[in-house]
């Protein structure tokens, strides 16, 4: 138990501070976001609110990690 544990607990309870898209919009634009990231383009600027959602939604975050890993390994 340490500061990270405290921060994780608070983040799970309070969610991201920034405005975020919700799950449906996240799914709609996740492929575009991943490819922007992999091309080194400013994904967060092009799709505002998606990164915040990934921080607040564990399910969408897992989908994001899997898609990124799959595309990287294709």
């Amino acid at each position: 138990m340490d500061r990270h544990t405290n921060d994780d607990t608070l983040k799970r309870l309070l969610g991201p501070a920034e405005p975020e898209v919700l799950c449906d919009e996240c799914f709609e634009r996740l492929d575009e976001y991943v490819e922007l990231e992999l091309r080194g383009e400013p994904a967060d600027k092009r799709i505002p609110g998606l990164r915040a959602h990934l921080e607040g939604c564990p399910a969408c975050h897992e989908d994001y990690e899997s898609l990124r890993a799959l595309v990287e390994n294709s």
């Binding site: 340490d2 309070l14 990287e72």
Partner: protein, 230 residues
């Protein structure tokens, strides 16, 4: 054995290439995506071949997801996981074909299609992992803030914040918001598991969580807590 497709239906861009090289292939990737969509829209044998290739692609993605989560599913037989991947690919195929008109070319077609298979597989795997577990909607244990080495005053402030969060949850959230927040944020129930138990969707459930979090933040701000860094 499937016949090879008339058009090239393989992922065109390999991200193993240096980014500059990958960027230079972006045009090829877009052309390849157009070929996918054209083949899937054209009636006849060419479409059948494209659908078969698409299913292969989706099955590969679903199996990729299974392999990533296998450690958490060590108690599940391999045959069942194979079957689960196949079901995910089947449902993803239906979803991709049904939403083909929604594809706008913002990413390569293969990346767009992959996400449907990963979603279907991920949802199934999370639900399978929780199949025998009870979903608890009340706090099992209220977390105490850990000693993070910030000294007695810092520790007292951290515990004060957690106490205020608990009070705010009790006073300001609806019963449904309270149950959803506690289950997801404190008891670690996966979103897709809770949505199934409550007969709702991931999106609707997350909206409830989102609204509860907004209310909590607003209430804590009125109580004088600075939450900018959280």
């Amino acid at each position: 054995m499937l016949s090879p497709p008339v058009v090239s239906l393989v992922p065109a861009m390999s991200s193993r290439l240096p980014l500059s090289a990958a960027e230079s292939e972006h045009g090829d990737a877009l052309a390849d995506s157009t070929a996918w969509v054209d083949a899937l829209r054209r009636p006849g044998a060419e479409r059948d071949r494209a659908v078969a290739r698409l299913h292969e692609l989706l099955l590969r993605a679903a199996r990729f997801e299974v392999s990533r989560r296998r450690a958490a599913l060590s108690h599940v037989r391999g045959e069942e996981l194979d079957d689960l991947a196949l079901q995910a690919a089947d449902d993803a195929l239906v979803a991709v074909l049904g939403k083909l008109d929604d594809y706008r070319g913002a990413s390569r077609f293969t990346t767009w299609a992959y996400k449907f298979a990963l979603l279907e597989a991920g949802v199934r795997l999370r639900r399978r992992a929780w199949q025998e577990r009870e979903v608890v909607l009340e706090p099992e244990v209220w977390p105490l803030m850990a000693d993070a080495g910030q000294g007695p005053q810092g520790q007292a402030e951290a515990n004060e914040l957690m106490g205020a969060i608990k009070d705010s949850i009790d006073c300001c959230l609806t019963e449904h918001q309270r149950e959803v927040l506690v289950a997801l944020a404190l008891n670690g129930v996966p979103l897709d598991v809770l949505s199934e138990r409550l007969n709702t969707t991931r999106g609707a459930l997350y909206k409830t969580l989102h609204d509860a979090r907004r209310k909590l933040r607003a209430e804590l701000a009125t109580r004088g807590f600075a939450l900018d860094s959280i």
